[in-house]
Assembly symmetry: C2
Homo-oligomer: 219 residues x 2
DNA sequence: TCACGTTCGTTACAGCATATAACGCTAGTA
DNA sequence: TACTAGCGTTATATGCTGTAACGAACGTGA
């Protein structure tokens, strides 16, 4: 039991859990998070509903899992596009703090923005699950905020700020510029994936590109 | 029955309906749209659940009513702030089309933006009900899109476009500028009301004001 | 090879929600 | 005053979440 190889029991369990999550995503993408139904997933998989509770603690917990999975996916996507695992070691890198933008700040930002939009357009409900309407009382788990920080970190670094966006006052203009990067892109993207542009003679991709240009630092 | 004065029957009905909607709003603001429960409303009002079906066709229909009510409220708010019922008669006004901005375009936009944010901050879930995560399959009733058009119309007019945002190609740069006005403000506002700035040393009001300035036409 | 025990899926059931049907009361109305 | 439209009730069907208890199966270790 102590050897690294997993037995067939654990293997089977992982496969079932993966299928549960996959079908859960199908439901979310198809009809929104509120339509997520354990019973429907179970039926689709040829099981009865209570069987799923062997794999998932409950409906809300499954939804939280999906949120974390989405965060992780997006974080990896953005970090990969920005080039390497930026963010976690901003102070350890040569850049230091308060200084000018990195060698290729504009490139990093452009790649991150493109990756963000590609991801969001590919999975609209996934993007809305992270940045759309939250449940008022809901407290996101600590991992979620950590993921959110990781996603934002490359942007913050590219604008030459110290790593921590929670820092009280010294962040200053770099944080402001990074937040503006975020809000301008999110403004276009969220309205696009929410379908608010339908029937409006608006080209979302063009608007997104224009907003991106508006926040890129001069080379 | 044909006289204008409404009988006590109709009066009572209106009062009950108003209370239903008021309690529905309380639930939505408190726990989100997905938590809206006819049964809970009925119990709060001292009735049984089936009694509510005398007043509301069903849960989804009540939610649609709330959406329309929110649209109407926001439309009135923005129009009042922009000054008079702009939009409905843009071609009838002296401005015509394709021309320069109105006499006080910047003022109109500034007032509309301020009214928008005040309204959204006052009723976060109401704003998110209109511009947050939509249900994928849901087709908004025609009245909703009409309200959305009315809300957008003063902005479009201030940037000197012809009235119809659905017009295919001739809208051009005026529509682009109006959409940018919308996306930049919405970018800040939606992240703010969704609580994405919490713990982040970001001043939403300041960011909103800065974004507003960035899209105001030069005087 | 075999007995054991963990793991899994089942049925049964409690609770809560939406929604419909049918009944009876009450209060405007003619 | 008799009538009836409108309203709220109980009863019921349906579908979901979640728990409890049972039984089967399969990997594990002797």
């Amino acid at each position: 039991m102590l050897d690294g190889a997993e037995g067939p029991r654990a293997r089977y369990r992982r496969q079932v859990l993966a299928e549960v999550r996959e079908r859960a995503w199908q439901q979310v993408e198809l009809a929104g998070a509120s339509a997520l139904s354990l019973k429907a997933i179970a039926t689709d998989m040829g099981m009865t509903a209570p069987a799923l509770y062997r794999y998932v603690a409950g409906r809300d917990e499954l939804l939280t899992d999906l949120v974390l999975e989405a965060y992780g996916d997006l974080a990896e996507t953005v970090e990969a596009a920005a080039g390497g695992s930026t963010g976690a070691d901003a102070s350890a890198s040569g850049r230091g703090r308060g200084g000018g933008d990195g060698p290729d700040a504009a490139g990093v930002l452009r790649r991150a923005a493109t990756a963000l939009r590609d991801w969001a357009v590919r999975h609209p409900q996934r993007y809305l699950l992270l940045y759309g309407t939250p449940v008022p009382g809901y407290r996101a788990p600590a991992e979620a905020t950590e993921f959110a920080r990781r996603i934002f970190a490359p942007v913050l670094a590219a604008y030459g700020s110290s790593a921590d966006p929670a820092g009280p006052a010294d962040a200053g203009p770099a944080l402001d510029r990074a937040v503006t990067f975020w809000t301008r892109l999110h403004g276009v993207l969220s309205l696009e994936v929410a379908g608010q542009f339908t029937g409006m003679a608006v080209d979302p991709a063009a608007r997104y590109a224009a907003e991106l240009d508006s926040v890129l630092p001069a080379d």
